[in-house]
Amino acid sequence: MSKKYKPRKLPFAYDTSSLFLPWIMMLMVFLATLSLAGALAVQNMTAKWSSSMTGSLTVQVLPPKEFAGTDMTERAKSATMVEVNKAVDFLKDVRGVKQVKVVPLPDLQELLRPWLGEAILDETFPLPRLIDVTVDDGDDVDLNKLKEGLVKVAPNASLDVHRIWLAKLMKLATSLNLTALGILGLVLLTTSFAVIYATVTSLAVHRPAIELLHLIGARDGYIASLFAQRTITFSFGGAIVGAVISVPIVVVTVLLAKSLEVGMVADGRLGGWDWFYVLIVPFVAALVSGITAYVTVAFKLRRTL
C-alpha cells in the first residue's frame, strides 16, 4: 500500500551549494548585523552631539590676574563677578544671541566634585565662572568678532566654542559611520557574489533536471522561482543562525555602553526602529539572496533552448 502523501519536493537534489550557502549566509548576516548596529549607534551619537552643539557657546571668566595663585577672597570674587556682568551685558547686545545664563557656583562645584573631591571644593577654591550662551543659529554669529569684543570688555574672559572640538569628533564619528556602512555594503556585495556563484554552480549540477523541466514545458521564470525558493530556504537557515550569534553581542555592547554613563559613549544607544532594522537583517538577507538567485537563473537560461 502506498504511504501517506508527502509534501511537495523541489525537482533539484542537494548539491554542494546547499551546504555552502547556509554557512556563507551565517557569516555574512553576523557581519552585517554588527556593522549595521555599529552604524546606527554612531549615527545616533552624532545626531545627539549635533543637536547639543547647535547654538551652544560657553564663556569662561577667570579671576583677575592679581588674584592668581591665591584663595578666592571676597575681593577676588567680586572682581570676577564684575567681569562676568560686563561679559553678560556685552553678550546680550550681540546680534543672534538668544539667551545668556551665568552658571551658578554650586552647579560648577557639583560638576567638579568627582574630580577634585569634597575637601578642597570650599568657598575659597578659585574657580572660573561660566556663562552659557545660546545663539539662534551658530553660523550667524561671527565668533572671531565676538571673541575680540568679549576680551575688550572682560580681559579675563575666554570663549569656549564646543563646535570646534565637537566638529572634529563629529568628523571622526562620521568616518566611523561611513566605514560601518561601507562594510555593510561590502557584505551585501560579497553575499550577492556568493549567491551568484552558488547558483551558477547549482545550475551546472542540475542541468539534466533543468533540461527535463524545459522539455515538459516549464518557463524560465518557473525554473528561476524554484531556484529562488531553494536559495531562500538554504540562506534563511544560515541567516537566522548568524543573527542568533550577533544580536546578543549587539545587546551586550549596548548595555555596556549604557552602563558607562559617560555622556558621549552612552549617546550611542539603539532606539526601537534601530532594533527593528537589526532584527530584520536575516530576513532581508534571505530575500536578497532569493532575488539574486532568481535574476541569475533567468539571465543564464535566456541562452538555452
Binding site: 511537495r8 519536493k9 524545459h214
Partner: protein
C-alpha cells in the same frame, strides 16, 4: 483501470486546460512538418540529411533504423530539444526556427516524450516524477494526486508510488517515464524505445495505452527495434538509414493491428 476519455470530452492536448483545438484532417494543419531538415553535431558529419515529412493529427508511426541511424536525434528535433542546422521545422504550425524561444513552453506542453534513458529525477518518488508536468502547468495538488495515482495504477506501479527511481528495476523506471509523458494527455507523443526494458505482456499493455491515446487524437511516434511489435500493430513506419528518412506503408492493415492489441 485508467479511463481514456473520448476525444470530444477532453480539452484537447492537456486534458485540464481549455485551448484551441486543431482543425480536422482534410484541411487541418500538420502536427509536425520537416522540410529539407539537416542536423549535425558541432563540426561532425551530418546525422540527418534533407529530411522531409509531416505528421497529420491522429497519426501513428513507428520510427525504425539501426542503432546510431539518428532516431533519437529526430525525436529530439520533434520535441524541441535540438535545433536543426538547416531546413525548416514546424511543430503545431509554429516555425520553431524563427519563433522566439519564449513560445516553446506552450508548444512543449503539448508534447509527451518517453526518453530512452528515462530521465527520471532520482531524488523524487515515482509519484513526484509523474506529477512534474502537471506542476509546471500549475494544476491543483488534489487533481495532481488523483491523476498521478490513477496513471501509476494503470502502468502497474501502484505498489511503488513512493519508490525512488534508484530502487526501481529498468522496466519499472520505463513505466514511470511513460506515465510522466502521458499525464497531461499530449497532442504529440514521442517515445524512444518505450518497451525496451519490459516483458512482452507489459509491452503490449503499454502499447495499448498508446493506441488508446491515438484513438482520441494523439499523434504517436514510437522509435523501436522490435519488429515483432511493428508487425503486430501494423502501423506505418518511418525508416532512417544513412541519415535519410523513408516512410514505409503499414505492414498489415492498421485495424488488424489494433484488433490484436
Amino acid at each position: 483501470m485508467i479511463k481514456i476519455l473520448p476525444r470530444q470530452d477532453i480539452k484537447f492536448g492537456l486534458g485540464f486546460k481549455g485551448e484551441k483545438v486543431l482543425e480536422n484532417s482534410s484541411g487541418m494543419m500538420n502536427v509536425v512538418e520537416f522540410k529539407d531538415v539537416g542536423l549535425r553535431y558541432g563540426n561532425g558529419p551530418e546525422v540527418l540529411k534533407d529530411i522531409t515529412f509531416s505528421l497529420a493529427p491522429g497519426s501513428f508511426y513507428f520510427l525504425t533504423g539501426e542503432s546510431g541511424a539518428g532516431k533519437s536525434s529526430l525525436i529530439n528535433l520533434m520535441s524541441l530539444s535540438l535545433c536543426p542546422t538547416k531546413g525548416n521545422l514546424k511543430v503545431f504550425d509554429t516555425d520553431v526556427i524563427t519563433k522566439n524561444r519564449k513560445k516553446f513552453p506552450e508548444i512543449r506542453r503539448n508534447i509527451g516524450v518517453v526518453f530512452q534513458e528515462f530521465r527520471l529525477l532520482d531524488h523524487l518518488s515515482a509519484r513526484e516524477n509523474v506529477a512534474l508536468p502537471l506542476r509546471v502547468l500549475g494544476i491543483k495538488e488534489v487533481e495532481i494526486k488523483r491523476h498521478v495515482r490513477e496513471l501509476l495504477n494503470w502502468v502497474g506501479l501502484s505498489d511503488h508510488i513512493d519508490a525512488k527511481p534508484p530502487t526501481l528495476a529498468g522496466g519499472q523506471k520505463q513505466r514511470v517515464a511513460i506515465a510522466r509523458a502521458l499525464i497531461n494527455r499530449p497532442k504529440l507523443l514521442l517515445a524512444d524505445e518505450p518497451t525496451g526494458n519490459v516483458d512482452d505482456k507489459m509491452a503490449m499493455r503499454l502499447l495499448r495505452l498508446f493506441v488508446e491515446l491515438n484513438k482520441i487524437g494523439t499523434t504517436v511516434v514510437i522509435a523501436t527495434h522490435n519488429e515483432k511489435l511493428i508487425e503486430r500493430l501494423g502501423y506505418p513506419r518511418m525508416h532512417l538509414a544513412d541519415g535519410h528518412l523513408k516512410v514505409l506503408p503499414a505492414a498489415r492493415p492498421i485495424m488488424m493491428g489494433r484488433e490484436q492489441v
